[in-house]
Structure formats: structure tokens, C-alpha cells
């Protein structure tokens, strides 16, 4: 059974590219358009990793991480932030919220797959 990853981004093009990249690497990908949608998908899937943007409508990425960390199933699951934000302040906020890592856009597909392999422990 393929490992499932949740890709959360309000930009359809980014979701498309993340999905294309990860499916090419053999992962199953579930997409969500914002934090609220992501929480809903997280409840209904057994996710090995969550890859999320920060600036999104309804619920942002940091709030999503905090909400996921409260759920027993995702207490220790790897959560990577994929964002254009690169300031140390924002990274510190991500870390405090419970994120596992920080990737600044634009991402390189090969590097993205390598990082995911690493944190999933493949």
C-alpha cells in the first residue's frame, strides 16, 4: 500500500506540482485547499506526512499544525511547511507550532522528494 501525503496549498498550481512530483516518486497524494479542508482530510485518511503552505484563507498553516498536533494520530507525524516566507521569526513560529521542517518556495522536485524520504524514514 502506497504511503499517503497530504498537500495543503490554496494555489492550485502548487498543489498540481507537488502532486505531480510526489506521485512520480511513488506516493499517494491527497490535496487540500486550506487548513479547514486539511483537517477534514486528515480525519478521513491515514497520512504519513503533511506538507503545508502558511498563508491560506480560513485557516493558515500555523494554525493547522497546532490543530494537527492535538490529534493523537498526528502528534508525532512529520509536518513540513512549504512557503514563500523565509524570515527567522516565521520559522521560529513554525517550529513552536510543531512543524518538522521548513521549505522555501520555489521547491526543487528532487530535493523535495529527498527531504520527504528522509523525514518519513524511507
Amino acid at each position: 500500500m502506497a504511503t499517503t501525503i497530504l498537500a495543503v496549498d490554496d494555489s492550485a498550481s502548487i498543489r498540481q506540482m507537488v502532486s505531480f512530483t510526489l506521485k512520480g516518486a511513488g506516493y499517494e497524494v491527497v490535496e487540500a485547499v486550506d487548513g479547514v479542508d486539511a483537517l477534514d482530510k486528515a480525519r478521513n485518511h491515514d497520512l504519513a506526512l503533511i506538507l503545508t503552505d502558511i498563508n491560506m484563507p480560513r485557516m493558515d498553516g500555523l494554525a493547522l499544525v497546532k490543530s494537527l498536533r492535538v490529534m493523537p494520530r498526528y502528534k508525532t507525524a512529520p509536518i513540513l511547511m512549504l512557503t514563500t516566507e523565509s524570515s527567522d521569526v516565521m520559522k521560529a513560529r513554525g517550529r513552536a507550532a510543531g512543524a518538522t521542517g521548513w521549505l522555501v518556495k520555489p521547491f526543487n522536485p528532487r530535493q523535495l522528494v529527498q527531504v520527504i524520504h528522509k523525514v518519513i524514514g524511507r
Partner: protein
């Protein structure tokens, strides 16, 4: 005067309403994306020009009114292409800087896309040549092992080029965010100027204060309000190089 500024700000905002243009082709039709990218880059250049024209035009209007209505302001200190309010100059310089950044990102991404797709095209042709050679294996010109090795190398190169294309294609998202931010800034200054203009008229029985120092004060207040309303720039990338990765 303030209403005029606000109206011009709205006009400028209208000039950059291309943020909703995305690339619908995505990865299923990469060449379509490249074409849209080129069109988008052209649009952005036009938008930048619109904004800079707007700024110059507004500056000239401001100076005209000031010199004709009140000579207390030393207009000799004013550059022909800038406002006489440093805060306002910085504000619009910020907008110009963002649009220049957008322009650079778009041009950079489009160049990379074109180069990547050219490489992919060449590599595909090369693959076809190899396949033809394999098909003619009954009388091979070079040993089959070497052909397979070459094919493996070409496949690897195709993958690298596709990776580069996927990285570059993310420019659409960066541009959308930057334009959105610029729009918020332009809207904020317009709203702030309108609010101050209304207050100004209200305090003076419907008469607008036209004295330069009062106008200067009003504009300063407007820029401060607008800066409070808009959040920090969401995109800092100046080119389409891959972003940093950090594991906590």
C-alpha cells in the same frame, strides 16, 4: 487634491488587475504554460509602466497645485518625478520595487522554461535516435550495452530538465502573491487618502484645505495608515532559484 490622488490610485490598481491570470495548462500542457508565461511577462511590463506613469503624473499634478496656490513651499527642492513628501516617495518606490521584482521573476522563469523545453525537445529527439539504433540491432553500429548506457543518461537528463521546469513553473504562485500584496497596498493608500480627505472637508465646512503643509501632513498620515493596513511583503525571492530547506 486628495480625492484626485485616491482616484489615480484606483486607476493604478485597475492597471494591475492581472493577478487572477494563472497558468491553466499546468504539467499536462507545459508548452501552453510557457506561452501563458510569456504573455504574463508582457502584461507585467505593461503594468509596471502604467504604475510609473501614474506616479509621475500624480507628482506633476501635486506640484502644479502647490506652485499655483501657495508659494510658501520651496518647489526647487522637488524632483520633477517624485512627490515632495519623502514618506509618500518611499511608499510608491516600494510599489515600483515590487513590480520590478515581479517583472524580474517572470522574465527569469520564462527564460528557464524556454531553455528547459528546448533541452527536453533535443533530448527526446536523441531518445528517438537511440530507439531507432536499437531497432536496427540486427546490424548494430555500436554495442547494445553502450546504447543502453546512452539511453539511461538521456533519461536522467530529461528528468533533470523536468525538475528545472517544475521549479520555474512555480513563478505563477509567487507572482500572484506579489501582485495581491501590491493591490492591497494600493487599495490601502487610496482608502486612507479618501478618509483623510473626508475628515478634512468635514472640519472645514466642506472646503478642502489646499495649503501645501497641510496636504503634506495629510499624505503622511495616509501613508502611515496604509502601512499599518498592509502586512509584510510575502515573497522575498529575487530570482527563480530553489528556496532553502531546513529541518528542525
Amino acid at each position: 487634491m486628495l480625492l484626485l490622488c485616491a482616484a489615480l490610485a484606483v486607476m493604478a490598481a485597475g492597471g494591475i488587475q492581472i493577478r487572477s491570470i494563472g497558468f491553466a495548462g499546468g504539467l499536462t500542457a507545459p508548452m501552453v504554460s510557457a506561452i501563458i508565461g510569456i504573455a504574463l511577462a508582457g502584461g507585467l511590463v505593461a503594468s509596471s509602466l502604467t504604475i510609473s506613469k501614474f506616479t509621475r503624473k500624480t507628482a506633476m499634478v501635486v506640484q502644479d497645485v502647490e506652485t499655483s496656490q501657495d508659494n510658501r513651499l520651496d518647489t526647487a527642492d522637488c524632483d520633477e518625478t517624485v512627490f515632495c513628501n519623502p514618506l509618500l516617495d518611499d511608499y510608491f518606490a516600494g510599489i515600483r520595487d515590487e513590480l520590478t521584482q515581479v517583472d524580474r521573476l517572470a522574465v527569469d522563469a520564462v527564460s528557464e522554461l524556454v531553455a528547459s523545453f528546448k533541452h527536453i525537445s533535443n533530448l527526446t529527439r536523441s531518445q528517438q535516435d537511440i530507439s531507432l539504433a536499437i531497432a536496427a540491432v540486427a546490424a548494430p553500429a555500436e554495442p547494445i550495452g553502450q546504447l543502453l548506457e546512452r539511453q539511461k543518461m538521456v533519461a536522467e537528463q530529461i528528468e533533470q530538465e523536468l525538475d528545472a521546469a517544475v521549479t520555474a513553473l512555480q513563478f505563477g504562485d509567487l507572482i500572484a502573491q506579489l501582485l495581491n500584496h501590491t493591490m492591497v497596498r494600493v487599495d490601502a493608500i487610496g482608502t486612507a487618502l479618501r478618509r483623510i480627505d473626508l475628515l478634512d472637508a468635514g472640519q472645514n465646512d466642506g472646503e478642502h484645505l489646499c495649503k501645501p503643509w497641510q496636504f503634506h501632513q495629510g499624505v503622511t498620515k495616509a501613508v502611515m495608515l496604509a502601512n499599518t493596513a498592509s502586512r509584510a511583503r510575502p515573497v522575498v525571492e529575487r530570482g527563480m532559484q530553489t528556496g532553502a530547506i531546513e529541518l528542525f
